[in-house]
Amino acid sequence: MYVIVAGGGAVGYNLTKLLLGQGHEVVLIEMDRARAQRISDELGSVVIPQKADEGRWLIEAGVERADVVIAATGEDEDNLIICQLAELLAVRAHVKKPRTIARVNHPRNDQVMRRLGVDATVSPTTMMLALIEEELSAHPAVHLMTLRQAGIELMEFIIPSSSPAVGKSLADLQLPPGTALPLVVRGTETIRPTDATVFAAEDSVIALLPIDNEPEVRELLMGSVE
């Protein structure tokens, strides 16, 4: 793949290194000259020491033949414009649009950026918050995987003894529509739940649920947050 990475901070630099290591063709655009020099000293001449949000440097980097453009700067508005410019320049050149991925620093911008045409967003802040939240909680609900396109997530809930679900069957729980519990782990035993399966404290419940249903399912399985 031919990949353009915009922004050579901790994220952009490590990403460039990773992609090069996997054999991809990569160009990094980093506006800080000293940083750009340090990176090209280490990784070779793959760095353009300029601003990626100025169209001409995206063109110089070969945006018209790029498969993917990843905007990984520390500024959300710059990342948005870099992705949009990449698309606009491809349209203008009558070539296939590259896939665009933006780093989102402020979670509130996540939705906006996808609505404004960025193909995929990655929010390190949201991920960190989720991980810290899980660490803080004695009975964690762990996000295992998010299928954003489908609006579905895969989660693990460990049922506390105070949970209203303890002693109830799956049928009694009345989960919201679209929610499935494909697996329960009890000690070393794995159970494929049926309507008659009764939940016990410390059960680990794997749930597949629409993202919007998370608060409701969490409350049904874990009880309300005190």
Binding site: R56, D76, E77, D78, I81, L85, L88, V112, R115
Partner: protein, 151 residues
């Protein structure tokens, strides 16, 4: 007209004062009170809001849902281009315009149906006119003097 202006620098404040003087309802948003205090007269009749104009909550507080026009004249081009897209696409504001110093970006977004004003190009055009007109005038004066001398 109800106009919402993002960015209270020289541009934003000048526009805000002028529109308010003409009787328009003006709200101006900036991230710092410094800018609002520095560039607006103390008797500015419009509303001032502290916050970042790419934040939907801030825009709502500033009345974007009932605004007739939205102008983005903050420090960075990208900030402005993002803000006007939120105003137009998210909130459906009819008239939007972004200040964009980079002529390339200004032209690309203009082509996308997003009005931009490029002060660097307008400024250069004005300077060009000033120089060329002046040299033409000087030439005219020289010709007039020649004619007088011939007589």
């Amino acid at each position: 007209m109800r106009v919402l202006i993002a960015g209270c620098g020289r541009f934003g404040s000048t526009l805000a004062v002028r529109l308010a003087a003409e009787g328009h309802t003006v709200t101006i948003v900036d991230v710092t009170t410094d800018q609002l205090e520095r560039f607006l007269p103390s008797d500015f009749p419009g509303r001032t809001i502290l916050g970042d104009a790419i934040d939907e909550d801030v825009l709502r507080e500033a009345g974007i849902e009932t605004a007739d026009a939205f102008v983005a004249s903050m420090y960075g081009d990208n900030h402005n281009l993002m803000a006007v897209q939120i105003a137009k696409i998210r909130f459906g504001v009819k008239r939007v315009v972004a200040r964009c110093q980079d002529p390339v970006r200004a032209e690309l977004y203009q082509g996308l149906g997003l009005p931009t004003i490029c002060p660097s190009q307008l400024g250069a055009a004005a300077l060009y006119e000033a120089i060329m007109n002046d040299s033409r005038q000087q030439k005219d004066v020289a010709v007039a003097i020649d004619q007088m001398l011939v007589k």
